[in-house]
């Protein structure tokens, strides 16, 4: 039973120039609009029109514009903006020289959240960490994390340090998505069973819009620790190419004499990637297995809200 209630929001907020648009573009594989280096703050919210985790819509807001018009607009529209929020992701620029001001805006956002969507999850990203010297990164991040935790009470916030130039951005968003998936532990157990049944080397579960790895199973040690991000980038590039032809990406099979890899739609929120190192197993067999498993996993994810969990009957 699908819900037709108002779509829940993921708010991506932060000061102008903190890197939100680049981040959104990279995670969601959107083309960056040409006028992203704006001189003024965002006047209107930017919708990404992406279905994220099934029923979430990403909204992007600039916080803390100097313009009094901007301030008033923000204040008057506050309830509208902060209602029905599932997730608040607040981006801090680690190089910002106005720490007091940043914290002040962050707090006012938190107040609005408390009033309008008290159940929302709060994540803080300390961004552009590549601009900090390597030996100081841990220290600075710990300081910020403490400050943010203190300021966020009574809400609990999870902090990540990120940079688009290393793996931290991907990992942070993967963690965020992981916490937002309903029944994620159940998913993982079932994924492991599924992998063992079909004798796969590795099975990955991706979130559909962002190709962030939600969960994975591997039967032996793999050499490349960065393979998730690489696969994600490759598929997103392919999706971009497909969209240029007004086609949409659905599935892919890559095969050579050493392995066969299958990427296919799985549930309404996820994609699956199955890697078989036994080339003698025909593709058709694996595809049938995936199709059958799909039905089971669908039941784990009901579209009518993440709060409900279902049991899956194991055959």
């Amino acid at each position: 039973m699908s819900s037709t209630a108002m779509k829940k929001k993921v708010l991506l907020m932060g000061k102008s120039g903190s890197g939100k648009t680049s981040m959104r573009s990279i995670i969601f594989a959107n083309y960056i609009a040409r006028d992203t280096r704006r001189l003024g703050a965002t006047i209107d919210v930017e919708h990404s029109h992406v279905r994220f985790l099934g029923n979430l819509v990403l909204n992007l807001w600039d916080c803390g514009g100097q313009d009094t018009f901007m301030e008033n607009y923000f204040t008057s529209q506050r309830d509208n903006i902060f209602r029905n929020v599932e997730v608040l992701i607040y981006v801090f620029d680690v190089e910002s020289r106005e720490l007091e001001k940043d914290m002040h805006y962050y707090q006012s956002c938190l107040e609005a959240i408390l009033q309008n969507s008290p159940d929302a999850k709060v994540f803080c990203l300390v961004h552009k960490m590549d601009l900090v010297q390597e030996d100081q990164r841990d220290l600075i991040f710990k300081e910020r994390e403490e400050d943010l935790r203190r300021l966020s009470r009574p809400l609990a916030c999870t902090c990540f340090r990120t940079s688009i130039w290393d793996e931290t951005l991907y990992k942070a968003w993967s963690s965020i998505v992981y916490q937002l998936i309903p029944n994620v532990q159940q998913l993982e157990t079932n994924l492991r069973n599924f992998a063992q049944i079909i004798e796969a080397d590795e099975v990955l579960l991706f979130e559909r819009a962002t190709f962030l790895v939600i969960s994975h199973y591997q039967c032996k040690e793999q050499r490349d620790a960065h393979r998730f991000e690489k696969i994600s980038n490759i598929i997103k590039q392919f999706k971009l190419s497909c969209s240029k032809l007004a086609a949409s990406f659905q599935s892919m099979e890559v095969r050579n004499s050493n392995f066969a890899a299958f990427i296919d739609v799985f549930t309404s929120n996820t994609y699956v990637m199955v890697i078989m190192s036994d080339p003698s197993i025909p593709s058709a067999a694996t595809l049938i297995n995936i199709r059958n498993a799909r039905k089971h996993f669908e039941k784990l994810e009901r579209v009518d809200g993440p709060k409900h969990s279902l049991h899956m009957r194991m055959r």
């Binding site: 573009s25 960056i32 040409r34 601009l131 050499r223 991000e229 997103k236």
Partner: protein, 558 residues
């Protein structure tokens, strides 16, 4: 099998992508950084990875991010601190081998003082000997002004030469010299003409060296002979009395003066019947230039000249000694200056003379370093100080030239002698029995004998490299080239040993191209391509080109 293991996304695809985009934005080379990571074979446990995991995943990110941007956006271009260090970057050949990018930081970086000294050392040449003559030709006041003016002008031209490789977009110009810049802007014409004019300066220097070497060798031999045989022969009719002898070797008919001096002068090839057999076999113009061939031609044919590079310190010592010599002579002779502004007198020259282009020609070669300044400045530790260091070096060179020129001119004893007697090589104004000057001549002789093969090597490398592609095509080629160069030197030494003229002509010719025309043109083209060419700039640089042409033309008429 090969096709199976091709990666999902190869670099060729991103190459095509670049072509489809707007290619006019080529100014930001960060979007096209030469950073590529080879695919790894993920199945076999093959040979060790030569690429770090971080580099591989960063490469994957770069490919992806580049697809997200418009072509003119540099928002997702990798900043400098994200790219791996040069010593972690590998170049892959299609055959599978990989080698490291040679780090450009391996060359030692010199502090400013060393760079300044290197420039001073390289610029200080034989033109220092012609400075007093040049000032005499232009007139004292005008000469000093011209030295300052030409020095500043050539400093500016050197500055625009130094700047020129940096404004070339999207090409790695880190090991380019100015002829490469000319080739970039003017094609084959630029390459060949800059090479030819560079050759003019080098061959001109070699001819001057031959003349001077013959001169110094002759005087040294003369001194030793006179000393051994205890002969006290005066070199010329016209000389000063007293302990500090200054001579006028060729007292010509002095225009405007009461000429009581006999016009007969001792020529080395005199018609006198009692010519010494020594003088017949040891003649400055007839025999000594040929004796040098025996010594120097074999040295020129050596394959490598690195041995002679060790002796560059001799040049510094010679210049320092010359400065000391000049100071001592000036102190002993005292100053003899009278300012006659436009009229000619018997003993003095006017302050402003029409022969001043001769000085500008000499100065064009004296301040010439434009064909190697980029290389010299490359090893400067603080590149931001390049302009400052260059200016300081030019200041020091100018001061040195001025010092020698002014002191000799001022100290030249004018009442008995004429200022017009100052020779293009001012050491010729001192008799061969003068000990200090003898030492100077010996120093310079040794220094030139060691620098001459180096110059010959430079000429050979550039000519053979351009013509045949090989620095040493065969012994015969090199021998023919060397015979031509040596022959030119011997001819000049025999028939026209006036180094002042050789210097001013070669200076004006090579200065025309490498100092005035090409740098000004390159500068104007660069500005125009950047859209920043203003009328004042265009006019002043065109004036610069005209000055260069006028400099050359005036050499023939004045």
């Amino acid at each position: 099998m090969e096709d199976d293991s091709r990666p999902l996304l190869s670099s060729e695809q991103t190459g095509e992508d670049y072509l489809q985009r707007d290619s006019t934005n080529s100014l930001d080379f960060r979007t096209k950084r030469p950073f590529h990571v080879e695919r790894k074979n993920i199945i076999n446990d093959g040979p060790q990875e030569t690429v770090s995991a971080e580099a591989a995943v960063l490469n994957s990110r770069l490919h992806y991010y580049s697809r997200l941007m418009g072509s003119s956006d540099r928002q997702l271009s990798p900043p400098d601190h994200v790219i791996p260090q040069p010593d972690e970057i590998y170049i892959y050949s299609p055959l599978g081998t990989a080698f490291k990018v040679p780090g450009s930081d391996h060359t030692s970086k010199n502090p400013s003082i060393i760079t300044i000294f290197a420039i001073w050392n390289t610029m200080m040449g034989t033109s220092i000997l012609s400075m007093p003559w040049g000032i005499k030709q232009a007139g004292f006041t005008l000469g000093v002004f011209i030295v300052i003016f030409i020095g500043l002008l050539m400093l500016y031209c050197c500055y625009i030469v130094l700047k020129s490789p940096k404004s070339i977009p999207c090409v790695d110009t880190s090991d380019w010299e100015f002829p490469d810049v000319c080739q970039y802007y003017f094609g084959k014409v630029g390459q060949w003409s800059s090479l030819m004019f560079s050759m003019v300066s080098l061959v001109g220097a070699m001819v001057v060296y031959w003349v001077l070497m013959s001169n110094f060798l002759f005087n040294t031999g003369q001194f030793i002979y006179n000393h051994v045989h205890n002969i006290n022969v005066s070199d010329s009719e016209l000389e000063t009395n007293g302990s500090e002898k200054v001579i006028c070797p060729y007292p010509n008919t002095n225009p405007g003066g009461n000429n009581t001096i006999s016009t007969l002068y001792l020529s080395d090839n005199g018609n006198m019947s009692d010519v010494n057999p020594f003088e017949r076999y040891w003649s400055k113009t007839n025999t000594v230039p040929f004796y040098l061939i025996i010594l120097l031609l074999p040295l020129l044919c050596l394959r490598s000249a690195s041995f002679f590079a060790r002796f560059t310190f001799l040049g510094t010592i010679s210049v320092v000694y010359l400065i000391v010599l000049v100071t001592v002579k000036a102190v002993r002779l005292g100053f003899h200056l009278e300012f006659h502004w436009f009229d000619k007198t018997e003993f003095y020259v006017p302050e402003f003379r029409l022969l001043f282009p001769q000085l500008t020609g000499v100065l064009t070669l004296a301040f010439f370093i434009h064909n190697c300044i980029i290389t010299l400045m490359k090893n400067n530790k603080d590149q931001e100080n390049n302009v400052r260091d260059l200016s300081v070096a030019y200041l020091l060179v100018g001061l040195t030239y001025l010092y020698v020129g002014v002191l000799i001119f001022a100290a030249f004893p004018s009442p008995p002698l004429f200022k017009d007697c100052i020779q293009p090589n001012f050491l010729d104004n001192f008799p061969s029995s003068d000990i200090m000057v003898f030492v100077a001549r010996t120093f310079l002789l040794f220094q030139m004998i060691t620098v001459y093969p180096l110059l010959g090597y430079l000429v050979r490398v550039q000519m053979m490299g351009q013509l045949f592609g090989n620095h040493y095509p065969s012994f015969l080629h090199v021998l023919i080239l060397n015979i031509l160069i040596v022959g030119a030197g011997v001819l000049m030494a025999t028939f026209y040993p006036n180094i002042g003229s050789i210097i001013r002509f070669s200076g004006a010719i090579c200065g025309l191209a490498l100092v005035f025309v090409f740098p000004a043109l390159v500068h104007m083209i660069t500005l125009r391509r950047q859209g920043m060419l203003r009328w004042t700039s265009a006019i002043s640089h065109s004036l610069l080109i005209l000055l260069g042409v006028a400099n050359l033309v005036a050499q023939f008429f004045m």
